[in-house]
Point group: C3
Chain length 270, copies 3
């Protein structure tokens, strides 16, 4: 009995999906139907479909945060695409040993940087698309089939021409002054943790206390259990960036934090 080609090839590659489509409709399901029709062995993983509609920045941050743990050969399809149908280009970005597929609107930029950008190709080979291409649903008609062809082993050069650069995403960066780091909240997760733009790697140098929105200095803890239940703390969480949290609570709710709220790290106590 012959083994299907894609089994023999070992091409059980992972395809992740990140969109702002939500899960009420069947838009995500349609993308998966297209992918499995072309690449039956693709292993599908949802990163999230709850990016706020057309909110490129949180989508880009979630994607950047997720990619490092995925195995070699993973194809990430990301679609947060206010400009669908207009002139923004569809691209595939080869970064590290993974591939990012989506619109060239900054969404893929932070993840590409994190993985190590290698090559950007503009998706111009319409023979790879689902036809006819809908004006409003490139996720299903452009990005999903291209991801499937990548899983199925297409040569990258068939996707389209190399382009020299991609749209950057301008994110606020933290500022390091003598004795203090000034940053801000860039993302709030499901638990109400306030994730900042201050890399955990900077904290050893800077000291052990953080201030949120001009409030009292908080200990930079190793674990939640270092403070009492209901108390605020700062720690380097799974994003590998400084977070403001409340043990057994929600910093967003209990401290009133928002994206953009200032956070500083200094050496001193009190």
């Amino acid at each position: 009995v012959p083994v299907p080609g894609w089994v023999a090839s070992g091409l059980f590659m992972v395809v992740t999906l990140l969109t702002d489509f939500g899960t009420r409709d069947s838009y995500v399901g349609a993308m998966k139907g297209v992918i499995l029709g072309l690449a039956p062995g693709a292993r599908l993983v949802d990163l999230t479909h709850s990016v706020p509609p057309q909110a490129v920045i949180p989508g880009a941050l979630i994607l950047r945060n997720a990619v490092p743990v995925f195995p070699s050969g993973t194809v990430h399809v990301a679609v947060v695409d206010p400009g669908v149908g207009s002139e923004r280009a569809p691209i595939a970005v080869f970064a590290g040993d993974q591939v990012l597929v989506g619109p060239d609107n900054g969404l893929l930029h932070p993840a590409a940087g994190r993985l190590g950008l290698r090559e950007i190709r503009r998706l111009e080979c319409e023979a790879l698309f689902r036809r006819p291409v809908s004006r409003t649903f490139h996720g299903r008609d452009v990005f999903a089939p291209v991801a499937a062809h990548l899983v199925a082993g297409i040569e990258p050069e068939r996707l389209g021409p190399v382009v020299p650069s991609m749209e950057p995403l301008s994110l606020p960066e933290c500022r390091v002054d003598a004795g203090e780091i000034s940053g801000e909240v860039i993302y709030i997760d499901r638990f109400g943790n306030l994730i900042t733009n201050i890399p955990g790697a900077l904290l050893a140098e800077a000291g052990a206390t953080a201030r949120f929105a001009g409030g009292p200095r908080l200990p930079v803890a190793d674990t939640y259990s270092q403070v009492a239940s209901g108390e605020p703390l700062a720690l380097v969480g799974s994003w590998e960036q400084l977070e403001i949290a409340v043990r057994d609570g929600s910093a967003a709710r209990d401290l009133g934090g928002e994206v953009g709220s200032p956070v500083t790290v200094g050496r001193g106590g009190a």
Copy 2:
């Protein structure tokens, strides 16, 4: 080393699930456990589990909209089932090159029509069910195991007898008069797009403007980018039906649309 039978057979068929079970409980997980126990190679895809409880019409529309992109051999399990445990029949519908499994309450009817109805069988072979069959959870005990047996290659005649017809779903149809098409909103998606019952194929004939709820005439655009941000437009979206949308906004919120709101398409401007 022997290859497991279902690998050798190439039976990596897709099973989709559409329910009103939500994702808070483990009801969907239980269906998947049953399927993977019987058909380890089944590729599971969630269409949605957020159909409003017992709302057959939106469930049927989402299913109809999703099925065309799925590959040959896909089995769609759909469970929105106010009559579970009562006299409504469980059925399997062979349509196009796919199969629909669920209650005979209209839920499967539009999708069967879209794929091309071939044969309807009443599920009567209790040996295929999970035993004992719960009175309230046919998704787990009847529909999931039947889907798995289909993936595993069971002969259709073992499912039960052919029946001549299925319960129809009465959906509002649009009316074409001289110079005007009158329809209505039948579904509102996550982005607040108001999807109508006016097929896109009719639009070329009818002209280029649409009116929502008696408001001003809107351009029938090709892409969102043809109007300014925040402006309303009409376009043929991924449902291949006329939609009323607001660029970078929500037509449901910004225009106050509801299911049933009237939409007309005419030739004229202003």
Copy 3:
């Protein structure tokens, strides 16, 4: 053509995930990336990620309710973990022919009892973990990789030492008096069904009526269709425990039920 080892071994084992991580962020996706990197053939099933943050009891009930239908060899990863980073132990529990992986805080206890507890091992082999182990995300760094190693066929003794017992979960138990069973609501599902701690198996003996929160006696029905639309009833649902429900409605909304609301079962009519 050589078949990849994990295909030849038939190790397409199921890994389920149950967490309080929600689906807005990519925390669940990260766990899946880790698992698929180590065990490409793992079949991933989401039980739920909507356990209320740090709510061990509902998480434990959902897990207990889900496990019986899963096939032999399934590995269930459950993470509702208020004590992450503190002294609570990570464990793997061999129960029936399945494995439960998660924190030793009571979360796994009811499911282990339902499957039949065989052996508990404390996860001490750091070589199996993702390094460095985050202080706040053992789901990704400890539990996900251990589950993957189990799917890949690791010998259980490599995980860590056997421990004699696990943290129990104290759940309210129903009381059987002469002629009456007294219980309470322990879980409310998506449909607003009020699931009690009264096992269905007790009902044949006790009689045919139930009272919710001191209200009128309700028929213990076989199916929803035994009462009129909008009417309350009691029945043994898919949890195999007594539920209070409203046909085509929500008992939680219509009757005002909460976790802890009293339910009694007696013989009488009236």
